[in-house]
């Protein structure tokens, strides 16, 4: 029997009082694609960090080829052949591709032979089946290309265990397929690929074995062929969520709040037309790269459209900035939590009231803090936000609660149109259900809601209507009650 190339034996990791990993044992064999799934907070990131030398385990052992090792830093892990690539490519934008590939090498000569380096880089890149000029500056590459450079770097370091942490999140359709090709090629060369993803479709398409983590523990490892989506979800969540995707009756009214006609932006999307009624929940689905977020950015004025018409309550409007959009009653809860979410150093209450700050401003700009706290407390109650003090910095909240504060922030604006982009990405199932209930309640109040989501079950349970986008155009529309996974997927991938 083959020996595992990397084994985590009874690994535990604590940060002060928090136990991030509890007695986790996992074995990675050469020549396999091993998927790792689990909800947020399950411990996947910590496990990866222990594998790559960023953290040292509090207990337990890491074995390479059966021998116990200690990774004091990332360099040590790299030398042992363990490398990781993440959602955000870690490249050096000002250096060339070839330099990026060989930057970590210790054993290269002190003096650089540019030609040899470029040639070697080209050879490695060719093995990946992509075409990137090694002399180009890494900063000019697309995200997918930068990821390829990272993988090339790992290959050049004779990687034996390649960890991919949510690598497909920001890739287009083509690029994801190419990534899969690379993963398979690596597997065939004997590399152990650890693939972490929230997307169960990918797991089933790509992996040989799948492991589930929950609450810092390792729950199971099975050949992928012997598992089912439902089974995996059950293990991830720890309870049977079969009833979770129940549909509720729609609450759409007659009047059209938002109408978009022939909306286009060069290089992003073309000829998008749809309407959202008051009280209606319209879900915009599609694969990553379908450019749904770009439509949202156009509606919110961050990246305005260059052609087409937007009408609010029958009136044509021009949206050139977020201020315009907000004035018209459009709110956008972004998926990019880091850049467009909360100011983590400011208080929860201040974050909630920011878009509507003028409402709390009295004479000479004085802020009515009592009113502010009252409104914030109101939202805390309505959204079930677990926050002891509303004046504590927003950064002290967990991810799910921060998401709720983000929602509160935009709801406080009293929007007529609410655009939410991936509202439940990365938050646990319990909080997901709460968010869904909230969106339905809002619809009941007459708000027109546009939900952008890649989570098909979510889409199917929420939507009064499903719009499918593909590569920048609207490809299909389904009424909510009769839409199915299959039908939506077929349109999303463009199958005939």
């Amino acid at each position: 029997m083959t020996e595992p190339v990397l084994e985590m034996r009874g690994v535990s990791k604590s940060f002060g009082a928090t136990e991030a990993l509890r007695d986790v044992s996992l074995r990675l064999f050469p020549g396999e694609i091993h998927a790792l799934v689990g909800e947020n907070g399950a411990g996947k990131s910590t496990l990866i960090k222990a594998m790559t030398g960023i953290h040292q385990p509090s207990a337990g052992a890491i074995l390479i080829d059966g021998c116990e090792v200690q990774f004091r830093d990332t360099g040590a892990a790299q030398r042992a052949g363990v490398a990781a690539i993440y959602q955000e490519p870690m490249v050096f934008p000002d250096l060339s591709v070839a330099e990026n590939i060989f930057i970590s090498h210790r054993d290269r000569p002190r003096l650089i032979d540019w030609k040899a380096m470029n040639d070697e880089a080209e050879a490695i890149i060719a093995r990946l089946g992509v075409a990137i000029d090694p002399r180009r500056q890494a900063g000019e590459l697309t995200l997918a290309e930068q990821q390829s450079v990272e993988i090339a770097r790992a290959i050049s370091l004779k990687v034996r265990v390649l960890i991919m942490d949510e690598p497909s999140a920001s890739l287009s359709d083509h690029e994801v397929q190419r990534l899969f090709g690379i993963a398979r090629a690596l597997r065939d060369e004997g590399v152990a690929v650890l693939y972490i993803s929230h997307r169960l479709e990918e797991i089933f398409a790509l992996s040989d074995r799948v492991s589930v983590m929950r609450d810092g523990r390792h729950i199971s490892t099975r050949p992928t062929a012997e598992t089912t989506q439902a089974g995996l979800i059950a293990e991830m969540v720890g309870r049977d969520m079969a009833g979770r995707f129940a549909r509720m009756p729609g609450q759409a009214r007659d009047e059209v709040t938002l109408r978009v006609t022939g909306l286009s932006r060069e290089g992003a999307f073309r000829d998008v037309s749809f309407a959202v009624r008051a009280g209606e929940i319209v879900c915009l689905s599609g694969l990553v790269g379908a450019r749904r977020t770009d439509v949202a950015l156009a509606l919110f004025g961050i990246a305005p459209a260059d052609a087409g018409r937007i009408e609010l309550a029958g009136q044509a409007v021009a949206i050139a900035s977020p201020k315009d959009a907000m004035r018209l009653g459009i709110a956008y809860v972004s998926e990019d939590r880091r850049r467009m979410g909360l100011a983590l150093g400011e208080s929860i209450a201040a974050n909630i009231t920011l878009p509507a700050l003028d409402r709390y401003t009295r004479a000479f700009g004085w802020i009515d803090r009592l009113r502010e706290l009252a409104d914030a407390a109101d939202f805390r109650r309505k959204l079930n936000i677990k926050a002891a003090s509303l004046t504590a910095p927003a950064g002290t909240l967990s991810g799910g609660n921060q998401q709720k504060v983000m929602l509160a922030k935009w709801l406080n604006m009293g929007p007529k149109v609410l655009i939410v982009d991936e509202p439940t990405r990365g938050i646990d199932i319990g909080a997901k259900a709460e968010v869904h209930a909230l969106l339905r309640a809002l619809a009941g109040q007459g708000v027109a809601i546009l939900v952008i989501s890649s989570d098909l079950p979510e889409v199917l349970s929420l939507a009064d209507r499903v719009l499918v986008m593909r590569e920048g155009r609207l490809a299909g529309e389904f009424p909510g009650e009769t839409a199915t996974d299959e039908a939506v997927m077929r349109v999303a991938v463009g199958a005939v």
């Binding site: 201020k323 467009m340 920011l354 921060q402």
Partner: protein, 330 residues
């Protein structure tokens, strides 16, 4: 310079920093009082402030600038330019009463000049104000060359040197008033709230409907305006201006602000902290002067203080991380 690492319970940390500063102030006052019986007299305290009153006035507006995630290295040069412009205008025959608002306008213009490059062109404020530090100082020298101008109207000198209301001179009264105004604006008004948000996360602020450009422009114009005011006060107090008025003051001013707990990364700090820091620095300088320590050494000591003031939060951060504060969820 904006968007920094956020440790948990930032407010608590800040509160303890201000508490710490208060302790230091009390300590210094005690030491100074013990060293000299005249220390706690009203007149001595007034002198204490008067000597550095221009710097501490600018420190108030610098607090806004740094919390906003920027920096303005040109303040001392604007002070110098304002003082020299005033001197030059008076010498050319303009009545001082007209020259004053004109000079204040020049200061605001200098701030606007900075704002054009920082806001409209998006250049880093460090580089822009480094360049204007040189440029504005150069303009001061063009006006005054290597001479000194000192023939100001008597009423002007009187305002700068004699008490105005009770034993308090104009500058001190202005400082008190400006401190209150700065406190209210920064920590109680919507404008101040926006200043904090922009410093904390510029993008979040922009995408939440805050007009980042307008706030930044306003702050830099205010910085120029207040620096010009400080320059005028200096001219009045000293009675004469030269090309090197306020040379190197930016170091003191920035030290005071950072010592007061304002983070160089933006989003953190208070006027209270700056005020406490002012008290510390003034008392320290006073004590050092009494101990016959020269100006250059005093500045060196302030340099050490500056390093310590940024080291302490860094050490505290590291201790927190080592002893297991929960990772800030994102």
């Amino acid at each position: 310079m904006s968007g920094g690492r956020i440790p948990a319970s930032l407010r608590a940390q800040l509160a303890s920093w201000e508490g710490f500063l208060l302790l230091v102030v009390v300590l210094l006052v005690l030491l100074n009082a013990l060293a000299s019986p005249f220390f706690l007299t009203v007149q001595n305290q007034i002198n204490l402030f008067q000597l550095s009153v221009e710097k501490i006035i600018v420190a108030l507006v610098m607090t806004f600038v740094i919390i906003n995630g920027e920096i303005d290295l040109s303040v001392a040069s604007v002070m110098g330019l304002a003082a020299c412009a005033f001197g030059w205008l008076v010498q050319e025959g303009m009545p001082a009463g007209w020259a004053i608002p004109l000079v204040l306008g020049i200061g605001a213009l200098c701030g606007a000049f900075n704002a054009v490059f920082i806001v409209a062109l998006g250049l880093p404020s460090l580089v822009v104000t480094l360049a204007t530090l040189i440029a504005f100082r150069g303009m001061a020298r063009i006006l005054v060359e290597d001479r000194g101008i000192g023939d100001f109207p008597a009423w002007f000198d009187r305002l700068g040197q004699q008490p105005l209301a009770g034993p308090f001179p104009l500058a001190l009264i202005l400082f008190a008033v400006l401190t209150v105004i700065a406190f209210v604006i920064l920590q109680r008004t919507a404008f101040g709230r926006r200043v904090y948000f922009i410093g904390s996360s510029r993008e979040v602020a922009a995408f939440s409907g805050v007009d980042v450009g307008r706030v930044k422009a306003a702050i830099f114009v205010a910085s120029g305006l207040v620096s010009a005011l400080a320059g005028l006060l200096y001219a009045a107090r000293v009675g004469a201006v030269r090309g090197d008025v306020a040379l190197g003051f930016e170091l003191d001013i920035i030290t005071i602000v950072l010592l007061g707990g304002v983070s160089i990364f933006g989003g953190v700090g208070t006027i209270t902290g700056t005020l406490l820091s002012i008290l510390i620095v003034l008392n320290l300088r006073n004590g050092m002067a009494l101990a016959n320590i020269t100006g250059h050494i005093q500045t060196g000591v302030l340099g050490v203080l500056l390093i310590l003031s940024v080291m302490v939060p860094a050490i505290r951060d590291r201790a927190r991380r080592l002893f297991g504060a929960r990772e800030v969820a994102r």
